[in-house]
């Protein structure tokens, strides 16, 4: 097996491990999304997932969140436990700051530097993989939460 292949497998494995660690954070953001967007704005979450899955640039995801936050008041809505931060601001901060720290930890573990273009491309890819995992988990929790609320409303 080539070094390149081993490295790729290690990257995926480390990203998956990290995804286990940030699961609780994704649950919280998913709950916040359900509270702010409700079932009525499901397309906001599916579009976010679509962009994260299809883009090659992390900045495309950040730009999307900024534009939606500027455009729609529900993206600026707080959450009872996080009243000071709206959904978009909170999600952006997590993806831009917290996940970068997790990316740096993975890179350190795998010996990926930050000087050559090859290493910079790897770092960028790891960040994108982390963002995709996080948004997938968050979207799953959003769906779960809005389905519960929808079920209660139908039952009442």
């Amino acid at each position: 097996m080539s070094n390149k292949k081993v490295s790729e497998m290690k990257i995926i494995s480390e990203v998956n491990n990290e995804a286990e660690n940030f699961y609780e954070d994704a649950i919280q953001l998913g709950d916040h999304a359900a509270y702010a967007l409700k079932a009525a704005h499901r397309s906001q979450v599916t579009s976010l997932e679509g962009i994260a899955e299809s883009t090659l640039k992390t900045s495309d995801v950040f730009d999307y969140i900024k534009k939606q936050t500027a455009r729609f008041p529900y993206w600026r809505e707080g959450f009872p436990e996080h009243a000071s931060q709206g959904l978009g601001e909170r999600l952006l901060k997590y993806l831009e700051d917290d996940l970068v720290k997790k990316r740096d930890e993975i890179c350190k573990k795998l010996g990926i530097g930050s000087q050559t273009d090859t290493d910079k491309q790897k770092r960028r890819r790891i960040q994108l993989l982390l963002i995709r995992q996080f948004i997938r988990q968050m979207a799953a929790q959003y769906e779960f939460r809005v389905s519960l609320v929808g079920g209660r409303n139908r039952g009442s």
């Binding site: 640039k57 992390t58 900045s59 950040f62 500027a70």
Partner: protein
Amino acid sequence: MLTTEQLLKIALLTDTVLYPEAVAFIRQLVNEEESDPLPLSQVNGLLNVAASSKYSELYTFVVHQRDRNWPQSKADIKKFCAALERYLTNMQRRRLKDEFHLVTDGLNGSDARRESEELMAAMAYDFIQHLVAENDLLDKTTRRR
């Protein structure tokens, strides 16, 4: 036509250089120089020009906007365009070659100019896209007047 290698490099630069610089660019104007965020019509117009024109046309548009005789109430637009013109000029004259290493060595004059135009079109579009997103966000939180 840009090579795959150049396009990959531009994607990397977009995430690691252009995005943080676009955020800093807008925040500098809004937070430190006390400008208002640009009206959405202005930034969307700029983005449309960046998306549909050659780089030389985009640059001409920015210069034209900078040199227009804006009323005092719209002086922030002039300030924004002046700063953007400086940023783009610096990128084309210096950074493309010396910092980003995007320029192909050994091209003749016309090929070098064509490549520079294509590189600048791609880089400027990405930069302006990030500017627009950050500007829209700040517009909701910091408009002064």
